[in-house]
């Protein structure tokens, strides 16, 4: 009896040591939660989530102060990824913060632009080039489509242009071929 107890205790201690050792040995280094969350957020920096940008929102999620479904540019997929990361149930996007839209870039009507620099100050990623009293242009490759430059423009010369699908951006669609989806047209 005593022997059995000793053996069991011995095994427990051994396993405990092994677990402890491996916890130290295989510790996942670095990037704290907020960084991982930030990596998932789309970086549109639009503020629709109610925070000053993606990073503050990431920090709020990490601290448990914000829900995971507030970012419209990230869409349902973004919510799902966050849920995966945090090990919680995904939930539908909170529509009060806006609905996802097709990805667009801002376009400045250069005829109307008065060169007031107000949009430059608003752009979170410095995607607008131009100087005072010179007409401004959007660097399309850097524009995140956040729409923050629209309201400040006093002459409303900025419009959002959806990114059209062209050959280099074309992608293969998910094949819809399995029988379940086509069950409607079977004769059965």
């Amino acid at each position: 009896m005593l022997a059995a107890i000793l053996v069991m205790a011995g095994i427990a201690v051994a396993i405990g040591l092994a677990l402890g050792w491996s916890a130290i040995r295989f510790k996942v280094e670095g990037n704290p939660l907020a960084e991982k969350i930030d990596a998932i957020l789309p970086q549109t920096q639009c503020g629709q989530c109610g925070f000053l940008g993606c990073r503050p929102y990431a920090e709020a999620i990490a601290k448990g102060e914000a829900d995971i479904n507030l970012c419209p540019p990230g869409g349902e997929e973004g919510v799902k990824k966050l849920a995966d990361l945090l090990g919680v149930e995904p939930k539908p996007l909170d529509e009060t913060h806006g609905a996802p839209k097709p990805k667009s870039v801002a376009f400045i009507d250069e005829q109307t632009c008065i060169g007031c620099t107000l949009c430059i100050q608003a752009c979170p990623v410095d995607a607008i080039s131009g100087a005072a009293k010179q007409m401004h242009t959007i660097i399309a490759a850097e524009c995140t489509g956040c729409e923050l430059c629209l309201p400040p423009c006093p002459v409303d010369c900025i419009t959002m242009v959806p990114i059209a699908e062209d050959l280099p951006h074309w992608k293969w669609k998910h094949p819809v071929v399995m029988l379940k989806q086509v069950s409607g047209d079977s004769s059965a």
């Binding site: 920096q45 109610g50 993606c54």
Partner: protein, 556 residues
């Protein structure tokens, strides 16, 4: 054959259907009224247009120049007037248009001045630039710019040169016919490749279902002043795949994620060798190629076709028939359906395969995977297609990559044998393109994050500088005040002046706007109006949020 052949794993034996088209002699397709020449005909960056509407161009004139290292030039296939430089339908499964140069031909087929190159006298780097400017790209299907592949790189030489005459896809016979009729020129092209790559061993692999081509190539090889071994390999799809050809001829495998040159082997298609010979010995750019037109047509055969010729012209030439259900570019295993028949023949067009319901019965509906692993047995890349399928279907792209999704050569063997008729390759293409898109999105997000962080850093710095300046000013003012107690009267501040300026500009702009048609602010549909209001509200909220820390910062 003294040399030992090796085997590649997997593969299938689809019905060959080669005899339909390889018996008739090659015929030159007539000059069409209009040529449409896409600027993106090769892998890499598209060519940059050099001509504009109204220009007269000559046959062989460069109309688009190579842009960057991995690129190739494009040329006018005949003389005429440039009628458009715009988006036109191109041979791509999506049906999306791409930038093309359209030429109204004048029927004179007038050549631009061109002369042979003395390849031995030119420095290799110069020769490669010449070849790039002659628009050479691999004609086996991948259309990789040949000049890049002819660079042996740091190693200075690539010991083994393989010339691929496999042509394993059913129906296609353009390489077969090319080898039968132009073997000498193919080998002249090989001589140039050998020169550029410094290869010591030259192996020409031809599948054993092309006896005439083998005989012609052997005879030609005997006439050459270098040793080129013609090797007869057993016909099995996809034996003409570069990796499979390498394995069969040398017994070596291209390491996953590496290039064949990393193991000292370079592979070219016979058509590329021929085009190279034309380019060097005649100075002719790549403006035509052999195209097999076969399937549901009256006279399946091979045509010498100018790049830019519309596909429907070729089908008419071969005799179109009723009951056509579709047209493929390429063979039945890897070919792509064409969205319409106005699309032009491009450098990659080796075959135009006209489908009919008898030749290509509609594929049966897919059943679930029963994990029978026939696909794995057939996969020449030795993958586990059933697992890749499972992950791709579930959207688990990470796992799909771990199971070597990117080693899949999209040969279609797995779909071909699957008893459940699952279009497996479709799922792999979908998964690959999804992964690429995500990587692109990720890069864009990283860029945005970086720029956003930099901006914050800049703002922080500016704020600090401003605060310092203010403090200094206040100090000075206080000193001033102390010196002259009753010098008063507020001067109009700078800010007011600025505001006035903006207001003036605003008035000007609005006047101008009223002249030009009102854009997007008047008569807005209620939805848009609401959206704008939302944005405004959000904006206000942000400003609010932004102000708080700012103010608290500035207080002390």
């Amino acid at each position: 054959m003294s040399r030992e052949l090796f085997k590649f794993k997997g593969g299938v034996h689809p019905p060959e259907h080669k005899a339909e088209s390889n018996a008739r002699p090659v015929r030159a397709a007539p000059l069409p009224k209009k040529l449409v020449i896409p600027l993106r005909q090769h892998i890499g960056s598209p060519a940059k247009p050099l001509v504009s509407v109204g220009d007269r161009v000559l046959k062989g004139q460069m109309i688009g120049e190579a842009d960057g290292t991995i690129s190739a030039a494009v040329h006018a296939s005949s003389s005429g007037i440039v009628s458009a430089v715009d988006q036109q339908p191109v041979p791509h499964i999506s049906g999306l248009p791409d930038l093309c140069i359209s030429i109204e031909t004048d029927g004179r087929d007038e050549w631009v001045e061109h002369r042979p190159l003395d390849y031995r006298a030119l420095a290799p780097a110069d020769l490669r630039i010449r070849l790039r400017d002659l628009g050479l790209a691999g004609l086996g299907g991948a259309v990789f710019p040949s000049a890049v592949k002819l660079d042996p790189g740091a190693a200075q030489h690539c010991p083994t040169l393989i010339i691929n005459g496999g042509e394993c896809e059913p129906w296609i016979t353009c390489d077969d016919v090319l080898m039968r009729t132009r073997a000498d020129e193919i080998l002249q092209g090989v001589a140039i490749m050998r020169h550029l790559l410094g290869s010591t061993e030259i192996l020409v692999g031809i599948e054993d279902n092309k006896p005439e081509a083998i005989a012609a190539m052997q005879a030609a090889a005997a006439r050459m002043d270098f040793a080129a071994e013609i090797m007869v390999v057993p016909a099995r799809y996809p034996g003409g795949g570069a990796k499979q050809m390498i394995q069969v001829l040398t017994g070596r495998e291209v390491p996953s994620g590496k290039l064949s040159t990393d193991i000292g082997i370079q592979v070219f298609n016979v058509g590329t060798a021929y085009a190279l010979a034309r380019a060097v010995h005649h100075g002719e750019p790549l403006i035509s190629r052999l195209v097999t037109v076969t399937g549901h047509v009256l006279r399946p055969q091979n045509f010498e076709v100018l790049i830019g010729t519309p596909m429907h012209a070729l089908i008419t030439l071969a005799g179109d028939r009723d009951g056509t259900t579709g047209v493929l570019m390429g063979g039945p295993m890897m070919g792509m359906p064409m969205p319409n028949l106005d699309v032009p023949v491009v450098k990659a067009t080796n075959c135009i395969l006209v489908q009919s319901a008898e030749l290509f019965p509609p594929l049966p509906k897919a059943l679930p995977c029963i994990r029978c692993t026939r696909c794995a047995d057939a996969c020449p890349a030795e993958l586990q297609p059933q697992e890749l399928f499972r992950f791709a279907k579930a959207g688990d792209f990470g796992r799909a990559q771990e199971y070597h999704l990117f080693d899949c050569i999209e040969c279609g063997c797995c779909s071909y044998v699957c008893p459940s008729h699952i279009p497996l390759v479709d799922f792999y293409r979908y998964a690959k393109s999804e992964i690429w898109t995500r990587e692109k999105d990720k890069r864009a997000a990283d860029l945005a994050r970086e720029r956003h962080e930099f901006r914050q850093f800049r703002q922080e710095r500016e704020k600090k500088e401003k605060a310092e300046k203010l403090a200094a000013k206040a100090q000075a003012k206080r000193a001033e005040l102390a010196a002259a107690p009753d010098a008063g009267g507020a001067a109009p501040s700078e800010a007011d002046a600025k505001k006035a300026l903006i207001a003036a500009a605003l008035a000007r702009a609005q006047a101008k706007k009223a002249e030009t048609a009102p854009k997007n602010t008047d008569h807005l549909p209620p939805g848009t109006q609401r959206e704008i209001e939302e944005i405004e509200a959000r904006r206000a909220k942000i400003r609010e949020l932004a102000r708080q820390p700012l103010e608290s910062d500035e207080k002390p």
